[in-house]
Symmetry: C2
Subunit: 467 residues, 2 copies
């Protein structure tokens, strides 16, 4: 539709705008001692991607329901223990989290006023072209990222729309994640209620996506008067942190109102027992936890698969209609606890014959861990430890042509897009204080890449152009 010169001009405007407005990632150039001092625009799509309005609105509408299911699953700790038991046998990380859930139970139950749980969730979906469906890829309950940068992407595409005659900016939906996510953290601080309480953001040392996080910190300060301390899990165990008998956590003498995890979702974030001790201190504290260990476990792939089994999600919803709504987003999901069970054996047989229609997912967050094709066949052929995986229908979204921009250079590629919807949920004791849908994320990747992580370098940020 555009000439090379026009595309070149739009791309350059996009790069400059991104760098002017903090739509950036840290450069991590070794020339600089300070890792956040130099930046580069995020990988981005120069123009928004066409997306069916009806599907987009459905995903937004259902988000509070997913928030509530996560909360109810997390509240049913016996269910979590039962459902994750087989996976925990072969997956150390799941086992450690389950152990923490049990070990901290009495401390959590003893908290005056009840435990405060904050969910900042993101449910990810793709269109499935063969079936005409719109299916959930996964539901993230810890460290759901890119909310702020995604809001900025909407602004970028709105700006670029003014340059492209055939684009109508009113087709770019508002994206309030940059407001809604900090607002939820502020609500949690208010629920905690201690004057002068601070937010502690648990981060990975040397985080490259620090700017997405820094936008939250800036909003917390400017709009809500809340200071944020960036600390690693190890810092909590070792650096001037103190847990009072009343469960009040102090970090460097400041009372902590909210602990917001942007790390802790992968075993790599627990290189020693010190990090596990840090996690335990947090879990026992009366600070609002985003998320609690239970919320984190409720987001496990194994739970996602189990909820899809006949009659299971129904245990966590209020009506058959709610369950039907949720189920309309469920892809084909199979547990591998017992591969001799007939329906599982059928699915495994089908996957071995047609591996390209399936994906094998371990109990892991973050891009790059799923198995496809020959790797899937090879792993699926060894029964030992398969219960740590789930087998999932591979969703096949329609391909669209897109201008992908990375490190200042662009290329036109055939691409697939994934839509994420952010939801915030806050509960103190048994009282639900917040349950909202707060924004969206679109990530676009080349059709020849199986993985979809932006930070991992597989995908770019995008936004939906509703059609």
């Amino acid at each position: 539709m555009m000439s090379t010169e026009e595309t070149e001009s739009i791309v350059q405007d996009a790069i400059v705008w991104a760098n002017q407005h903090g739509l950036v990632v840290a450069l991590k150039d070794k020339a600089f001692v300070n890792p956040e001092c130099a930046t580069v625009h995020v990988p981005l799509a120069a123009l928004p991607v066409a997306f069916p309005e009806e599907r987009f609105l459905q995903a937004k509408a259902v988000m509070p329901l997913f928030n509530r299911v996560i909360d109810r699953v997390a509240a049913d700790e016996a269910y979590l223990e039962r459902t994750l038991a087989a996976a925990a046998k072969f997956d150390d990380f799941t086992r450690r989290l389950l152990q923490l859930l049990v070990a901290t139970r009495s401390a959590r139950q003893a908290l005056a006023g009840g435990e405060i749980a904050l969910g900042i969730n993101r449910s990810d979906y793709m269109l499935d072209e063969p079936s005409g469906g719109f299916l959930q890829v996964e539901l993230n309950t810890i460290a759901s990222s890119f909310g702020c940068l995604s809001s900025l992407m909407t602004h970028l595409h709105t700006y670029l729309s003014s340059r492209v005659p055939y684009l109508d900016a009113s087709r770019l939906p508002l994206n309030t994640a940059i407001d809604g996510i900090p607002a939820a953290i502020a609500a949690a601080a208010k629920a905690h209620g201690v004057a002068g309480g601070v937010v502690v953001m648990i981060v990975q040392p040397g985080e490259r996506n620090a700017y997405d996080q820094q936008w939250i910190q800036l909003q917390l300060w400017e709009r809500h008067g809340l200071r944020t301390y960036r600390r690693t899990l190890g810092d909590i165990a070792t650096k001037h942190s103190q847990l009072g008998h009343d469960g009040q956590l102090q970090v460097e003498g400041q009372p902590v109102s909210v602990i917001y995890f942007r790390a802790g979702y992968t075993p790599d974030d627990y290189p020693s027992e010190s990090e596990w001790r840090g996690r335990e201190i947090i879990e026992c504290s009366n600070a609002a936890k985003c998320p609690t260990v239970a919320y984190q476990l409720a987001g496990a792939k194994k739970v996602q698969q189990d909820l899809a089994r006949t009659g299971v999600v129904e245990q966590f919803t209020e009506s058959a209609d709610e369950a039907r709504q949720l189920r309309s987003f469920f892809a084909g999901l199979w547990g591998l606890d017992d591969v001799t069970e007939p329906s599982t054996a059928d699915a495994v047989g089908e996957a071995l014959r047609n591996p390209d229609r399936f994906v094998l997912k371990p109990q892991r967050e973050g891009g790059g861990n799923n198995l496809y094709g020959a790797d899937l066949v090879s792993r699926l052929s060894q029964p030992e430890g398969l219960s740590a995986f789930i087998l999932m229908q591979k969703i096949r979204p329609p391909a669209q042509s897109s201008v992908l921009v990375r490190n200042g250079q662009w290329a036109i590629s055939d691409t697939l897009s994934e839509v994420g919807i952010y939801g915030t949920f806050l509960k103190k004791g048994k009282e639900v204080l917040l349950n909202e849908e707060v924004g969206h994320l679109v990530r676009t990747k080349r059709t020849d890449s199986n993985e979809g992580g932006v930070a991992a370098g597989f995908a770019v940020l995008d936004s939906p152009y509703l059609v």
Copy 2:
């Protein structure tokens, strides 16, 4: 006043805020093909510098007067030729500009509706501690830079003030340069009056301070609906540019309403005759020129010195009071056309005895060209070609302690500060359409550095804390 930890925390907040809000310069990392795709925060002072409110307000108030003097000096082309004749003998660049002034005169005078001249000037000052005065360093009439980044510095210091209990954000004066400079360009486009006319920004190839310029481009588009083309002087002579018989310049088929120079102030910007041809094409066109050759020459050091001579600035003002106001900012300035002339000989003798009280300035813009100390003595001792220089009193501002931040690292230093005031002026034929003061700039440098360029690496951006 602050602990190392507090300073560290403020500095990190400053760096992150700068990168979030486009207070950046291009990184020019060789790892990237696209020179604007990666950025680093501007060199900056973590906290604003104390500055006397009365002096600051005086400098703002006098700016329209300086704007008008520049315009009147530029209009008196015989004065320019006469005053710059001796300098031109030894300075090729001044000679070429004077030749252009003469060569384009008939074409300029033939323009229907009159020539459109746009001044975006910046008058720079320093406090002089020994005399208690507040003295003009120089008056820039071409490529006055840092207006937009300086407005952002005001925002940064306002933000940081919320973090530092002893700072009162109301003492940071509003800085509207980021609005006023684009508004002046838009007014010039309106005065030109051709529908669909574009702005051409004349840039240096590989400009590192591109983001200061890009903020102007963004404002021109978002607030005034004006497209900007970035072109080098060589492009104008060689790349799809056309000058019509009516003086209408076209660049790639688009009518040009305004030519805004962010290059062309140094001989380095004219590596071949092609660039001089580009400058001549522009000068003959009916586009608003920011600046005209005459405005550029009116900003010469030699003119600054000549205006200070008894009775000279009085020729370009409307009253004795106006001249008195302007003269209150004049430092000691001496021409070197005839070093045998008694008062000149006195000054030269004084400078040779006390070189640290003087600076020897060539007819050059941009940091790094002035001569100090032993270099001054050495040059001043050779009479040949001295008319291309002026001798100036060295202004001695009070030292203040400051936290300077560069490439993510900070140091506390004794520093000096220079205040710049931006003024915009627009004239079509004989009609003055705009004459305003639009904002300010503070640059702070270590006391052990003679030069003050931010882009050249000698100084940092700062802002005034009025006391």
